[in-house]
């Protein structure tokens, strides 16, 4: 995968046949396959959610009332906005505006950090209430059978998502830095597009988690 260097012709030591466009095609394809495997990772969690929702309909009906819908919704806005910034960054680099692209990526990374901070705040609230997963569940206001499972799924699903956000923030920060360094251009910006694809997936997963855990 070409990850370093600015726009450049195919040089003699290139390991493969074909031109930069072909390598970009391969990189995109690889990313799509990776995203497919990421979807399957979350599918295991969504399946568990579906199973326990069937087993404890009452719990999952009442569960969202014990969530901080304001913080969750705010986080949705934050993440969607960051996704828009990433999309704008890709459009900018395609148009050759490296400075704008770098700035937009940095903005998206900052919003990623904001998301994590809000999530941390929410986690702290739950921890204070004793709404912890499994054996540590001690939330008196919601003590019907199966309630601990709802919070277990909440912690695991949002936790795994938060790990992905953290990785994404790291990737966006590196990409922003390298873009500002001038490593990418209108002719060569494959890593930006790949990072963008990953960030959109992270965003998309949240768009499923948010209604499932906070709204319905």
């Amino acid at each position: 995968m070409p990850s370093d260097g600015a726009a450049r012709p195919v040089v003699a030591q290139a390991r493969h046949f074909g031109d930069e466009a072909a390598r970009q095609g391969a990189a995109h394809m690889g990313m799509w396959v990776f995203l497919a495997s990421e979807v399957m990772l979350f599918t295991a969690l969504f399946t568990s959610y579906a199973l326990y929702r069937l087993a404890y309909p009452q719990v999952f009906h009442q569960g969202p009332h014990h969530m901080d819908v304001t913080l969750g919704t705010l986080n949705t806005y934050v993440l969607v906005t960051s996704s828009v910034l990433v999309a704008l960054a890709i459009a900018s680099i395609r148009a050759g505006r490296e400075l704008a692209a770098g700035g937009l990526l940095a903005g998206a990374a900052v919003l990623g950090v904001a998301f994590l901070s809000l999530k941390g705040l929410e986690y702290a609230h739950h921890a204070r209430d004793g709404a912890l997963p499994g054996a540590h569940y001690a939330y008196a206001k919601f003590a019907i059978p199966g309630a601990s499972l709802y919070f277990t799924l909440y912690w695991v699903m949002t936790g795994v998502h938060a790990v992905h956000v953290t990785v994404g923030v790291g990737a966006l920060s590196v990409l922003a830095f390298r873009t500002l360094e001038g490593r990418f251009s209108a002719a060569y910006h494959t890593p930006l597009e790949l990072g963008g694809m990953y960030w959109h997936l992270v965003d998309l997963v949240w768009l499923f988690l948010w209604p499932l855990l906070y709204l319905v």
Binding site: A26, M29, S37, E38, A44, T47, H136, V156
Partner: protein
Amino acid sequence: MSLARAEPTMPEEHYLNSERGLWSWLTTQDHKRVGVMFLVAVLLMFLLGGCYALALRLELLTPEETVMGRLAYNRAFTVHGVVMVWLFLIPSIPTAFGNFLLPLMIGARDVAFPRLNLASFYLYVLGAALTLWAMLQGGVDTGWTFYTPYSTATGTDVMPVLLGVFVVGFSTIITGLNFITTVHTMRAPGVGWMRLPLFVWAIYGTSIIQVLATPVLGMVLVLVALERVAGVGLFDPARGGDPLLYQHLFWFYSHPAVYIMILPGMGVISEAVSVFSRKNPFSYRVLVWSTVGIAFVGFLTWGHHMFVSGQSTFGAGAFSVLSMLVAIFTALKIFTWLSTMYRGSIWVCTPFVYVLGFIFLLFFGGMSGVAVAVTSADLHWHDTYFVVAHFHFIMVGASLMAFLGALHYWFPKMFGRRYPEGLGVGTAVLIIFGFIATFLPQFLLGNQGMPRRYADYPEHFQPLHVASTAGASLLGFGFLIVAIYLGWALLHGAAAGRNPWESRGFEWYSASPPPESNFHEPPAFPHGPHDYARPGIEPEVGHAL
């Protein structure tokens, strides 16, 4: 037919000597070197898992304690299972031979992402190290399936093994991702989808399973780990959780994993049958679409592991029928291979003997698979040695035959040397015989009611256990001979020449061993990958370095 007509020389510069020193190997991005490193690693794991297998068989020689106590026995079969399944059978053919051959077979200079390819190797090593470290710490007694609630309650050190398998899973996903992308984007001009070598199709199908199924395993391992550390309760009935969910998620990966083990083997056999019968495959398209069919249907069969777990009758019936569908695709392959051999000019050499062994064991193991897919029969055989024998026939017998067949078929390509053919054929026969002697008695044991995973047993089972252990000794002896003559051939074998089998496969177009970067420019393969119909056309090989 003999090997005499092969060109006798070895190329002066090839991938083995283009750069020297350990460091050049550890930092290589050459798919061939990565493939060879994987080959060495999986062989080491096979040796380890095999030693444990022999220890287990030794323990089962007598009804009472023979060489180890019950706790040690539980730990030994866990090591055997974990190492053989996760560290040998699943990665073996794709990582070693897939890595080495796939780019050569499609006329590419390397895989699409060479650095990821190397990373995949290191992830494998890391995962293996974690797993083995846990074994050294005293071992784990959960069995290779880590079934909850036992795996969350046992006092043994399960966490590092869960982590190790999780990391190896990453390696598998990366390898699969790399292969899929390589097949899609790196084919030389003229190598269309219906001109792909059958081995490439098999690896492609396998990769799709790897990419889509492995993450589910990864997630379920994380959940078990969380269950141990934080008591999250998803699989704990005391907290309202459902242990069956673990089994569903686990087998959603682990049943398709059987096809991760067997599909590449089917690809090897498709190649070898054609070469050693000197005939085009009876139907290339049937072999391709049955590969796709197995890869697809394999995802819909996991519930047959849970017939006795309290699954609904309808669910069990549906999974029973879906499981049997796999047999149809497998039968299509077997008929195609046999039809390929029919009226072929058959050359009985070492890889071909393994082909015959593969077809027999796959047929036998497959038919017993249909038998255990019948819900009523499964109630009788569940968790007995019948099932042990069945899955060893498929996962071990057939996969191992394909692995050894691949090793012998491509050894001249990989290392540029020939091994003693007579010894190869004789040992192959010994190994096949040893295998059947080991596992055939286990079908009988299981049918009589001998449960799996027990160190002690009633005395009347002993004769069959003795037969099985005797077979295992033969098998071990056979592997030892293979190791000795292949080791000798590596150093002292005669030069193999470019194409000692006179194969029409694309990988034989380059020199043996192939040069670094395979080809100067995209090669133009003048015929289909298994075109033996017009043997007069010997292609130009000027495009190979």
